[in-house]
């Protein structure tokens, strides 16, 4: 029986696990969180049941159905609180080159879905960041990566003050704990995600004093209005957005386009923000600044896909930094599939369709099989949706005009914009690795997850670096304790194949 490992239990991972089971594979579904659903279906813990929790979610009944089916299925092992910290080539399949890539493909050279993944996935299972997690190594026949994305927040003066949050933080606390991050909240950034965040805040008792979308109406219309017939298939998504708009009217939340939070003010916490109008390239327009009192600010300028595991697995990445996939969601590495936001920021419907296709093909099916024809059609519609999000809401270059020399770029290592540029100029380096070492930007405990893309943009423009390095490459995919590293099974010596065991 084919053994399929699915990493990530958000919409894409859940759909992949179900489709792989339907095709007869033995499935292990793992997630770093202790609950299924990912960030999209982030929900209250079992200790806090609520009669109408569905009111906070879209597609809640579908999630409950998927979760129930997987948890009741003896052919699916659900492994929560499971942090993947490394993926490496298995020693029984080909030789490993000095750069860590397989140079003799072993059975990777076999074309088609039947080729077995030649990888070992190293996992730590137990309480988050605990010292006594149980090490486990899994050697699946096929690997489905569905690791999702996190907020991309551009720096601005004061963004390191307590009380400034990512939009995802506000969403997680509202849905997962019924905690509102503040009483007077400003939501700002770019993209359709700002709307559900404002809606969640309002439903958690916060007063949202404004939602500020950086893009101007012209660009929003240019991205969303052409080819409206292509959206017909995405009615689920359209309905969801209509729901948010209604929510806005109901709670009288002002929605302003072409404006942004360009600074947060306060000494030890945020007390107010400066809001300015932006031109079409996101450059603040002088004279439009106004100060707004707020005790919390939630900012998101889009999403960064979580690419460390696909990169560790050797998957090819597109020039716009998503995982390359074929019609069956197969990556450039045999036996490795990718679905959801890591293949393009397309939202929940795309993730569900891609996940189902990935799981089906990973379990030995074909993208032309009748069982997944509906998902294949949905996949085409939602790919169009992803393109519209980028066209309407993608980051524009003028934002750097709101930075001061003192604005922190790297929050962990506390590297301000002025020093980052001065060090970069002084060293005349064109390699990202040496620039990181001299500036220290991106070397902190978040492993460059928050500032990485920004540092790349500020130091190298969008032309890339001479050494071809990107901040998405993290051979140790999550911080681990030295004792855990020492106690983990030796590299290239997997313990076994998808063994059933209780962590």
């Amino acid at each position: 029986m084919t053994e399929v490992l699915v990493v990530g239990a958000g919409p894409a991972g859940l759909a992949a696990a179900l489709a792989a089971r339907a095709r007869g594979a033995a499935v292990t579904l793992l997630d770093a969180a202790d609950e299924l659903g990912g960030q999209y279906w982030r929900h209250l813990p079992p200790q806090r049941p609520a009669a109408r929790e569905r009111a906070l979610h879209h597609g809640w009944a579908r999630f409950e159905r998927m979760r129930r089916e997987l948890e009741a299925d003896p052919g699916c092992e659900v492994l929560t609180s499971a942090q993947v910290w490394a993926i490496e080539p298995a020693d029984d399949d080909g030789r490993v080159g000095a750069d860590g890539r397989l140079i003799d493909g072993g059975d990777r050279a076999v074309a088609g879905a039947a080729a077995r993944a030649a990888l070992v996935v190293h996992v730590l299972v137990g309480p988050v960041d605990g010292a006594d997690r149980v090490a486990r190594s899994i050697r699946p026949d096929a690997l489905v990566l569905a690791t999702g994305a996190h907020d991309r927040t551009l720096p601005f003066p004061g963004w390191d003050l307590p009380g400034v949050f990512t939009a995802g933080a506000a969403q997680a606390l509202a849905k997962g704990e019924r905690v509102a991050v503040g009483e007077r909240v400003v939501v700002a950034g770019a993209g359709p995600f700002l709307l559900p965040v404002a809606a969640s805040l309002a439903a958690t008792g916060a007063r949202v004093v404004g939602v500020h979308e950086a893009n101007r109406p012209g660009r929003l219309a240019a991205g969303w209005l052409p080819r409206p017939w292509a959206l017909i298939g995405a009615v689920g998504k359209a309905g969801e957005l209509a729901g948010y708009a209604w929510n806005h009217v109901r709670h009288r939340i002002p929605y302003r386009t072409g404006s942004a939070v360009v600074a947060a003010h306060g000494t030890d916490r945020v007390e107010a923000v400066t809001i300015a109008s932006l031109d079409r390239d996101w450059r603040p327009i002088a004279g439009t600044e106004r100060r707004v009192e707020a005790d919390a600010v939630c900012v998101s300028h889009g999403f960064t896909p979580r690419l460390e595991l696909p990169i560790a697995a050797g998957c090819a990445i597109t020039s716009d930094r998503f995982v390359v996939v074929d019609a069956g969601q197969g990556t450039s590495v045999a036996g490795v599939y990718a679905a959801g936001e890591i293949t393009g920021i397309g939202g929940v419907d795309a993730a569900l369709a891609e996940g189902a296709v990935a799981g089906h093909v990973a379990a030995g099916g074909s993208p032309t099989d009748a069982e997944i024809s509906r998902e294949m059609r949905a996949r085409r519609t939602t790919t169009d949706f992803a393109g519209r999000i980028e066209a309407s809401h993608g980051i524009r270059s003028g934002w750097t005009a709101w930075l001061d020399d003192d604005t922190l770029v790297c929050r962990c290592e506390e590297v301000p914009y002025g020093r980052l540029r001065a060090t970069g100029d002084a060293t005349c380096s064109t390699g990202l690795r040496s620039l990181k070492l001299t500036t220290r930007a991106g070397l902190g405990i978040c492993q460059g997850r928050i500032c990485g893309r920004t540092v790349e943009h500020l130091l190298g423009g969008d032309g890339g670096f001479a050494d071809g390095v990107s901040t998405d490459r993290r051979p140790i995919a999550a911080p681990v304790r030295l004792a855990e590293l020492a106690g983990a099974s030796a590299p290239n010596r997997p313990e076994g194949h998808l063994r059933k065991e209780t962590p």
Partner: protein, 107 residues
């Protein structure tokens, strides 16, 4: 003005009864609902920041809320560098804030 949990009585999702959980944060007892994260409990009790940065000693609390940024790390029952936004609180957890000073700070 601060973060707070929506009182159950005014929550449109009609929550059921919850069990209390009490943790000790820098010596002070703090109470939340069972199943909350450490960060969620601390925030809802009115404390917005708990870590001090290494270099400039600036206050930090929760930023990304989904385990990505590591701004919110605390020591829990002697284990350092635990993400408070991801770790569910257990009754009696002893939590202390972290300030890992760099030698340069003393110059």
């Amino acid at each position: 003005m601060s973060a707070r949990m929506l009182p159950a009585g005014s929550d449109p999702i009609r929550p059921g009864p919850t069990a209390p959980v009490t943790i000790h944060v820098d010596g002070e007892p703090v109470t939340g609902a069972a199943g909350q994260t450490i960060a969620g409990i601390v925030l809802a009790n009115g404390r917005l920041a708990w870590r001090r940065t290494s270099s400039d000693g600036r206050p930090r609390g929760l930023f990304c809320g989904i385990g990505v940024c590591f701004d919110c790390i605390v020591t829990v029952n002697g284990d350092r560098d635990v993400r408070a936004c991801q770790r569910r609180a257990c009754d009696g957890d002893v939590v202390s804030s972290q300030h890992d000073e760099l030698p340069e700070v003393h110059r």
